[in-house]
């Protein structure tokens, strides 16, 4: 789960990482009030879950309260890479001497938290990694023994020469590592970590992603979820305990298992179609889940056909078939539905599907091709009507 910069900064500050003072506003009046309270130049920063906010014009310097009013007006409601800005962070502006990068990620190959630092901060770190990987210094921290102070100093010394700055940065790295574990982060990032003319090291941006699997023990962070910043269908899917990702195609997919769901989407594309979504109904077989899945997919106006692909193991095909029948009766879908149910209780499932005159296809390739053909026919009807 992603949280906003202002939320990440609250967590950083609670762990003693120095961040500039700031508050979040959802409207111009609040933004202005915050700026008035500070009585000095501020930054107006859009709070959206996407990188490159600055480039998109979503981060602005405001010399005075009037400028805050102008920028807040412009930024709130602005669209950044398809996401609407609902909140801005008003934070005191600071003078910058140098910009560095500090980040911690989960590294799959060393099975450890890896700390990355670079003196080339303030820009897209992936770009630095691709073009000048030698400018990034990494340390895989032994998860049993943890981070030692000397290791943090070593990393900090890759950023600065001045011992005063090194000490401050080392302290920040130690604290950031603590944050990483304290909140079960999958990523924490300070980009940039700056130095000021009076010799202070400060985190002026903050990024924090929390492992979804650990949210059950971080209720305070789970409560930070910004539903406005997410695709509504994805919110609905999560509430229905489904794994769902919206895409831009016109063939809705309902599959059991994440790997098979991806493979099904890929095959749609392979045979010339475009998947409308990724949807995994999971291992348990609950007819209600199929109903929710159908409701979400039918809510997408682009969908011209629905493809249901189930390989029954723990998932029982008859449960899924019952869900399909329920959805038929309740939602009365107008788009064609192509089904393949194979594995556990397949025969019973086929009997259930007969009630609504639905047949199950034989192979995966077959049903994918059929769904594409039907979606194209639907498209022509839709096109003709328009």
């Amino acid at each position: 789960m992603k949280i906003h910069e202002y939320q990440a900064k609250e967590i950083f500050a609670a762990h003693g990482i120095p961040v500039p003072q700031g508050e979040v506003a959802e409207n111009v009046a609040d933004a202005v009030a915050i700026a008035e309270k500070y009585g000095r130049p501020v930054m107006v920063k859009s709070q959206v879950h996407v990188g490159g906010r600055g480039k998109a014009g979503g981060v602005q310097y405001a010399e005075n309260v009037e400028a805050v009013r102008v920028w807040a007006q412009k930024i709130i409601g602005m669209d950044i890479k398809g996401l609407r800005v609902n909140k801005v962070l008003i934070t005191e502006a600071v003078d910058i001497v140098t910009e560095a990068y500090v980040g911690i990620i989960i590294d799959r190959s060393t099975k450890a938290a890896v700390i990355m630092v670079s003196a080339a901060g303030g820009i897209d770190i992936e770009e630095v990694a691709a073009k000048t990987p030698e400018k990034i210094h990494k340390l895989a921290v032994d998860p049993i023994h943890g981070l030692r102070a000397y290791q943090a100093r070593d990393l900090a010394s890759k950023l600065y020469r001045d011992m005063n700055l090194i000490r401050q940065a080392a302290d920040i790295i130690m604290k950031l590592y603590k944050v990483f574990w304290a909140v079960d982060a999958s990523l924490v990032e300070i980009n940039p970590l700056i130095t000021t003319p009076d010799g202070k090291v400060l985190a002026i941006d903050a990024k924090l992603n929390v492992d979804d699997n650990a949210l059950y023990r971080h209720k305070n962070i789970a409560a930070m979820r910004d539903l406005d910043a997410e695709e509504p269908s994805e919110v609905m899917a999560r509430e229905g305990d489904l794994s769902f990702v919206k895409l831009n195609g016109n063939i809705g997919c309902i599959v059991n298992g994440a790997g098979l769901a991806m493979a099904t989407m890929d095959l749609v594309k392979h045979y010339g179609g475009e998947p409308a979504n990724f949807l995994d109904i999971g291992g348990s077989s609950n007819p209600q889940k199929v109903l929710t899945a159908m409701r979400i997919i039918l809510g997408d106006p682009n969908v011209r056909a629905i493809l249901i692909n189930i390989f029954g193991g723990i998932t029982r095909c008859d449960d899924v078939a019952n869900g399909i029948v329920m959805a038929y009766e309740e939602l009365k879908p107008e788009v064609p539905i192509v089904v393949r149910l194979t594995g556990t209780n397949e025969k019973e499932a086929l009997k259930i599907l007969k009630k609504i005159n639905l047949e199950s296809g034989e192979t995966l390739d077959q049903v994918v091709k059929k769904a594409i053909a039907l979606s194209e026919a639907e498209n022509q009807i839709a096109g003709g009507a328009a």
């Binding site: 099975k111 049993i144 650990a214 790997g259 098979l260 594995g343």
Partner: protein
């Protein structure tokens, strides 16, 4: 032959009184797995489907001489279950549980490594050696014994591939799901090395997906250290970046971990990649036929040394059983 599990595998089911645990304990037993006991704290002394329950792993292992544990407990308790199994002395732990926090897995991984215990998963369907043993949740009805090894990060997609193989008359030595999480106990290379060393395995199907670089590492390993042909499949070619596709580990982050990179790495290692799971049996038959042809053409002394570089093979002739052993050594 098979890898990791066989007739000697004696299994304790952790979380045996739960819904999934009791169902799959029964399924495993029916398949012929030697399920010797189960553990649920507070329910020791009872029985589930004739399987004795113990309060602790230590008691269960002492009483049954089990060498394997399979875990079906909820995510909040899975980490503790893994530690308990390792400390009780089993040498193989299969963790089916989905939803284990990745940060918890990091210290466990290093602890098990130090103890010399093999972990498979978490978030995996387990494994099956047809007609011998199944540990986990894979349906026993879709497998058949034969010469193909299957390794995958997925569950149902693996079933799809296995079923396609079985329908085409291609049986399996062992099918193993290594799990869809970021931090897993056994990776592709570990498994490939074991298949390489297993005399009964003649070819391997490797099913990868987006996220991480385990497939790329495996491709390098295959090129360098495997004599047996491998056929690949990669799920997630249509996955958008930055979105978690069901599995915790299936995410393209910072532009890396894409299906494209993985397919490219397979290509560079000479591994044919199927566009659809149904295409896998045909590719397997092709690589097996190609290998046979090569074996007929090349003098027997050199045939085992390397399928892709005959020049190298000539330089270092080796008797047939050795490459397996060498590969195994390298992997350690």
């Amino acid at each position: 032959m098979s890898i990791i599990i066989d007739k000697k595998t004696k299994v304790i089911v952790q979380g045996i009184t739960g819904r999934d645990g009791s169902f799959h304990a029964d399924q495993m037993k029916k398949y012929g797995t030697d399920v010797v006991g189960g553990v649920t704290p507070g329910k020791g002394g009872q029985k589930v489907n004739g399987i004795p329950i113990f309060n602790t792993m230590a008691e269960a292992v002492a009483a049954t001489k089990a060498n394997t544990s399979v875990i079906y407990v909820p995510p909040a308790y899975a980490i503790d279950a893994i530690y308990e199994a390792a400390d009780a002395g089993v040498k193989l732990i299969v963790c089916i549980t989905e939803g284990v926090p990745a940060n918890d897995m990091m210290p466990v991984y290093h602890y098990l490594k130090h103890k010399g215990v093999r972990l498979i998963g978490p978030n995996c369907p387990g494994l099956i050696s047809p007609d011998k043993s199944k540990v986990g949740i894979m349906p026993g009805t879709i497998v058949k014994s034969g010469p193909i090894g299957v390794v995958s990060r997925s569950g149902t997609l693996t079933y799809e591939a296995i079923w396609a193989l079985t329908c085409a008359g291609l049986g399996q030595t062992t099918c193993i799901g290594i799990g869809g999480d970021q931090i897993i106990g056994t990776n592709f290379i570990d498994t490939l090395a074991m298949f390489e060393a297993d005399p009964a395995t003649k070819a391997v199907v490797m099913i990868g997906e987006i996220g991480g670089s385990d497939e790329e590492e495996a491709a390098k390993f295959i090129k360098k250290s495997m004599t047996k042909p491998v056929v690949g499949f990669i799920a997630g070619r249509t996955a958008p970046p930055g979105k978690r596709m069901g599995h915790a580990g299936a995410i393209i982050s910072g532009g890396s971990g894409t299906a494209e990179e993985k397919v490219k790495a397979f290509g560079a290692a000479g591994i044919p990649v199927a566009a659809s799971p149904t295409e896998i049996p045909r590719l397997i038959k092709e690589v097996l036929a190609a290998k046979k042809k090569k074996a007929v053409k090349t003098p027997s002394k050199t045939r085992a040394a390397g399928k892709k570089s005959p020049a190298k093979a000539k330089a270092k002739p080796k008797p047939k059983p050795k490459p397996g052993k060498t590969a195994k050594k390298k992997s350690r």
